[in-house]
Symmetry: C2
Subunit: 187 residues, 2 copies
């Protein structure tokens, strides 16, 4: 019986991070980096059109990245957000990222989180979530975002997690649309 599973970023991400990893001056620069991850993931045929990253809030330092690896890894939980959050937790050897005034973290995602990733966010320790494309942009291409609570943004805010949406939405939606037009696998 299987007793261990591993999820690994594709090789191309190393060079991508080396060339584009820092510094990040603002919200849009971080999101451009994440949307480009989603685009490259399709181009490199390593998964679906979704990217994510965790940044240290005060410094803007890149902590970890994630791309959707469902088809390439064979794990349905290998969404970009889960991958990025898990790699950030590994970097800090801590199952919950610290959230203090001098050290807190933000999750950027090229699309609003599906029901699973939404549920994962409060457990992760991130202080903030920033999204580009909307649920409906993913649904328009055929992706299923799952059964989310109606007022999910308010739910996160009530837990003290800041939420920003529609940051470079058009650019992220364009990657989703392009994937749909190419007949990319919907899973």
């Amino acid at each position: 019986m299987e007793c261990v599973f591993s999820i690994e970023l594709p090789q191309w991400t190393k060079e991508y991070i080396r060339q584009n990893g820092e510094p990040f001056s603002d919200l849009e620069e971080k999101m451009r980096f994440v949307i480009e991850l989603s685009r490259r993931n399709v181009q490199e045929k390593t998964g679906g059109p979704f990217g994510a990253a965790v940044f240290e809030q005060n410094s803007g330092r890149l902590v970890s990245i994630g791309v959707n690896l469902v088809t390439s890894s064979g794990f349905s939980a290998a969404h970009a957000e889960i991958v990025a959050l898990s790699l950030a937790q590994k970097a800090f050897s801590c199952g919950r990222l610290p959230n203090r005034q001098d050290c807190s973290f933000e999750l950027f995602s090229s699309c609003q989180p599906c029901a699973m990733c939404l549920g994962a966010i409060p457990w992760s320790g991130v202080a903030s979530v920033v999204c580009a494309a909307r649920d409906q942009d993913a649904r328009a291409v055929g992706f299923d975002e799952g059964h989310k609570p109606r007022r999910w943004r308010e739910g996160l805010r009530q837990r003290g997690i800041q939420v920003a949406v529609d940051v470079l939405r058009k650019q992220a939606a364009a990657v989703l649309n392009s994937y749909g037009q190419q007949g990319g696998q919907i899973y």
Copy 2:
């Protein structure tokens, strides 16, 4: 930067599976096996009081198990259900478990799924979910189940996923209560 993460079952589970792994004749026998996983996970100090397993529906064969490994693995996504589902997918080399008349799978969990695990269930491919303790039993001990849609069971059923609850609820709740009384870590 971290580029891979792994989640591994604790050593004691191997012997536990060897001694208790098969055969399973009915629902309650499977759930007793899963509740005992939750109890042993606390006793062995490898995580919180939650266990899960995936069974092949027609044969009753055990496919994979999971226990809550958040504190021991350092990953907030390492809930029993995510571990069991991922190990089942690894066993079948497939990011979505098959769901055919001749081959389908059921997830047993010692507690109703939190918001993250609930969101993960439709992506996993399981045809059925069977739970023991209720959300409120976990909350009574201090665990946070997250922001779940109000009618989550109906949501799963609308997707064709069968849901059974309260199977050996008292026995599973007793493990949760015992953990709470011992002052077990709440995360």
